[in-house]
C-alpha cells in the first residue's frame, strides 16, 4: 500500500529530522532513495536544486515532490501531512511545557544556557552558506555576490522590510546575470588580418581566461563562455568552426587539466544525445585534438579514439552506410530524390510523438505521394547490423539523405527535417 508507506516514511523523516534543512537530507535520502527506491539519487539532487529555487522548508518540498512522483496528488498530500505531524504534536507539547515552566528558575537557567549555543548555530549556518563544503551550491560566486550581500546586510540592520529586500535582490540578480547575456549578443568582428578567422574567434573568447589556474577551469563562468563560444562558431562556415575548436584547445598550452575540462564540456554539450546543441561536426575536431595532443595521458585517449570512430560514421556530405531494410530491400535502392531514415522502437514515447508528427505533416505526405521522398522506418532492435553502421545514441534517430544517399542532416529532429524539406521545395 503505497500511501501507507509514504505516510510512514515521511512520519519518520519529520520525527527524527532534528536541526531542520540540510541535516534532514541524509534521512530523506535514506528513506526515499535507499529504502524504498522511489526516486534515484539524481532525482533527489534535482529536488534539492528545485527546493533551493522555491520557498519553504526542504522537508516539505521533498515530501510534496516525492509524494506526487510516487502516487500522484493524494500521495503528495499524504506525504506532506505526515512530515508535518511530528512537528505539530511535539511542538505543542513542548510549547505547553515551556509556557507552564516559564518564569521558573530552571527554565530561566536552561534557556540562558542554550541561547548562546543557538546563536552560534545560526552563525555557523550562515558561515556554511557563504563558504560551502562543496562548490556546487555556492552562493558567493563573484564580486557582485559580495556587493549584494553587503547591501542587504546594511539595509537589514536599518530595518528595511526583508520581503522587499528579497524581491529587490532577485531583480538585481536578473539585471546582473541575465540582461547582459541577452543584450551583448556577440557579433564576430575579424579585424586582425595576420591571423585566421578561426584563431581570431577562439582568442577573442578565451583571452580573458587564465587557463593555467585550476579554479578558473571548473567555474560556471568558464562553462558559460565555452557555450557562448560554441554558439558563436556553429553559425560559421564549417571549416572556420573546425579551426576555431582546434585553436581553443591549442590555447590550453598542453595543460592537461584544461584539455580534459574542455573535453568533458564537449562530451556533455556536443555529444550527449539529450543535448539540444549536439553536433558531431564540432565534436570531431575536439576528439582529434585529444588524440593528437602529447599532453593527454595515453589512457585518456582510449575513449576519444572509440568516440571518433562512431562520430565519423555517416558524416554530413558522405554517402550513408547501406543496410537491409525491415522490408528486406537495400536502403540504397530507394529511388526518390530524398530519403528519411527513421530508426525507432515500438515502446519509446518520443518515437510515438515523432511518428505522429510524420503522419500529420502535410509536406511529407505530399512528397511521398509524389515519389519525391521515401521514408524508411527501421526497428533498430530487430536489425543487429544497424548498431555497427549507425551511431544510435538515442532512439528515435532521423537522417535526411539526398538522391545519391549522401547525408544532409544527421541525427536531426523531425521538426528540423520538415523545416529543411519545406525550405528546399520552396526554392524550386
Amino acid at each position: 500500500m503505497i500511501y501507507l508507506q509514504l505516510f510512514i516514511s515521511y512520519l519518520k523523516i519529520g520525527f527524527f529530522g532534528f536541526g531542520g534543512g540540510y541535516s534532514m537530507l541524509s534521512l530523506i535520502q535514506h528513506e526515499v532513495v535507499v529504502n524504498h527506491e522511489w526516486i534515484s539519487n539524481a532525482a533527489l539532487s534535482d529536488i534539492i536544486a528545485i527546493s533551493q529555487m522555491t520557498p519553504g522548508p526542504i522537508a516539505i518540498n521533498s515530501a510534496t515532490y516525492v509524494g506526487y512522483t510516487v502516487a500522484g496528488f493524494w500521495g503528495s498530500v499524504i506525504a506532506t501531512a505526515a512530515v508535518c505531524l511530528p512537528s505539530l504534536t511535539i511542538m505543542v507539547l513542548i510549547t505547553r511545557f515551556f509556557l507552564r515552566l516559564k518564569g521558573s528558575n530552571y527554565m530561566e537557567c536552561v534557556m540562558t544556557a542554550m541561547r548562546p549555543s543557538v546563536m552560534g548555530m545560526i552563525a555557523a549556518a550562515s558561515l556554511l552558506l557563504i563558504f560551502p563544503q562543496d562548490k556546487q551550491g555556492a552562493s558567493m560566486i563573484d564580486i557582485w555576490s559580495w556587493i549584494l550581500f553587503a547591501a542587504a546586510f546594511v539595509a537589514s540592520l536599518r530595518k528595511v522590510n526583508p520581503i522587499n529586500l528579497i524581491i529587490l535582490s532577485a531583480i538585481a540578480g536578473i539585471g546582473i546575470y541575465y540582461i547582459p547575456t541577452v543584450v551583448a549578443a556577440p557579433s564576430p568582428k575579424v579585424e586582425e588580418q595576420s591571423i585566421s578567422p578561426s584563431q581570431a574567434i577562439a582568442q577573442r573568447e578565451w583571452s580573458s581566461f587564465d587557463l593555467s589556474q585550476s579554479e578558473v577551469i571548473g567555474s560556471e563562468r568558464f562553462e558559460q563562455a565555452w557555450v557562448d563560444f560554441i554558439y558563436l562558431i556553429c553559425h560559421q562556415e564549417p571549416y572556420i568552426a573546425y579551426g576555431a575548436i582546434k585553436e581553443s584547445m591549442r590555447l590550453c598550452n598542453d595543460n592537461s587539466e584544461a584539455l580534459n575540462a574542455l573535453f568533458e564540456l564537449g562530451e556533455r554539450y556536443l555529444y550527449n544525445p539529450n543535448s539540444p546543441m549536439r553536433n558531431d561536426e564540432l565534436f570531431i575536431p575536439m576528439l582529434e585534438f585529444m588524440i593528437d595532443s602529447p599532453a593527454v595521458d595515453p589512457l585518456l585517449k582510449i575513449r576519444p579514439k572509440s568516440l571518433l570512430k562512431i562520430a565519423k560514421l555517416n558524416r554530413m556530405g558522405q554517402v550513408a552506410n547501406n543496410f537491409t531494410t525491415d522490408g528486406g530491400e537495400q536502403m540504397h535502392q530507394a529511388e526518390s530524390p530524398f530519403t528519411i531514415l527513421y530508426f525507432h522502437n515500438p515502446d519509446c514515447t518520443d518515437c510515438k510523438r515523432t511518428s505522429a508528427v510524420i503522419s500529420r505533416s502535410e509536406i511529407i505526405r505530399e512528397l511521398t505521394y509524389g515519389g519525391q521522398l521515401t521514408i524508411i522506418p527501421t526497428l533498430s532492435d530487430n536489425n543487429p547490423q544497424i548498431d555497427t553502421l549507425y551511431d544510435l545514441k538515442a532512439i528515435p534517430s532521423l537522417y535526411l539523405l539526398d538522391e545519391q544517399k549522401r547525408v544532409l542532416l544527421k541525427d536531426a529532429t523531425i521538426e528540423s527535417i520538415i523545416e529543411a524539406l519545406t525550405y528546399i521545395f520552396q526554392q524550386q
Binding site: 529530522g17 532534528f18 531542520g20 534543512g21 540540510y22 528545485i50 533551493q52 529555487m53 522555491t54 520557498p55 519553504g56 522548508p57 522537508a59 516539505i60 510534496t64 515532490y65 506526487y68 512522483t69 503528495s76 506532506t80 512530515v83 512537528s87 505539530l88 511542538m91 505543542v92 510549547t95 528558575n105 530552571y106 537557567c109 536552561v110 544556557a113 542554550m114 541561547r115 548562546p116 549555543s117 546563536m119 552560534g120 548555530m121 545560526i122 552563525a123 555557523a124 549556518a125 550562515s126 552562493s139 558567493m140 555576490s145 559580495w146 549584494l148 547591501a151 542587504a152 520581503i163 528579497i166 535582490s169 532577485a170 538585481a172 540578480g173 536578473i174 546582473i176 546575470y177 541575465y178
Partner: protein, 182 residues
C-alpha cells in the same frame, strides 16, 4: 490582550512561507519583521527562546516556529492555522513545479534571480545575530563564538551542542534554586 484572529495567523505565516527561500534559517528575518515588529505577537526578548525551542524539537524549523507562535496565541487551532500557512505555499509551488516546470532550474531568468537572492538571504540571516547579541553578556558572546566554531570547523552535531547547553543550564539551576521550589 486582544485575541489573535486565526485568519491573521494563517495569512501572516502564508506571507512568511512565500518568502522563505533557502531553508529554515531564512525565516528568522521574516519572523522578526512580521511577528515581532508588525504584529507584536511575541515580545522581542522571547525571540531567541522561540529559536531555541524550534531548534531543539524535531522537524523543520519553519514548522516548529509556526506551531509555537500559533499555539501560544490561540491553542490547538492557532497551531494548525499557522502550520497550514507555512505549508500551503511550499505545497502549491512544488506541486506546480512537479506538474509543469520540471525544468525550472534550467531557466536562465530564474537562475539569475537566485544568484542575486542567495547572498541577500545570507545577509538577512546574519543581520539578526547582531541585534540579538546586543543585550548579551560578554561571556555569552564568547560561548556563541565557541559554539559556532565547534559547528563550523569540527562539524559537531547541533543536537549534542543543544543537549550539552541544556545540561549546563539544569546544573546551574540546581545550585541556584532553593530546595522545594521549582
Amino acid at each position: 490582550m486582544e485575541q489573535v484572529r486565526l485568519r491573521d495567523l494563517f495569512s501572516t505565516f502564508l506571507k512568511i512561507g512565500v518568502f522563505t527561500f533557502g531553508g529554515g534559517f531564512a525565516m528568522i528575518p521574516l519572523i522578526e519583521r512580521e511577528i515581532i515588529q508588525r504584529r507584536a505577537w511575541l515580545p522581542a526578548k522571547e525571540f531567541l527562546d522561540l529559536l531555541t525551542i524550534a531548534q531543539s524539537a524535531p522537524g523543520p524549523i519553519a514548522l516548529n516556529t509556526a506551531v509555537f507562535i500559533g499555539y501560544k496565541s490561540r491553542g490547538y487551532r492557532g497551531a494548525l492555522s499557522a502550520l497550514l500557512g507555512v505549508v500551503v505555499p511550499s505545497f502549491t509551488i512544488l506541486l506546480i513545479v512537479a506538474l509543469y516546470f520540471n525544468h525550472i532550474r534550467d531557466n536562465a531568468i530564474v537562475d539569475a534571480a537566485f544568484k542575486g537572492m542567495r547572498p541577500a538571504v545570507i545577509a538577512l540571516i546574519m543581520a539578526p545575530i547582531i541585534s540579538l547579541s546586543r543585550p548579551m553578556k560578554p561571556l555569552h558572546i564568547v560561548v556563541a563564538v565557541v559554539a559556532a566554531a565547534a559547528l563550523w570547523f569540527f562539524a559537531f552535531s547541533p543536537i549534542y551542542l543543544l543537549l550539552a547547553s541544556a545540561v549546563v543550564g539544569v546544573v546551574w539551576a540546581y545550585f541556584t534554586t532553593k530546595k522545594g521550589k521549582l
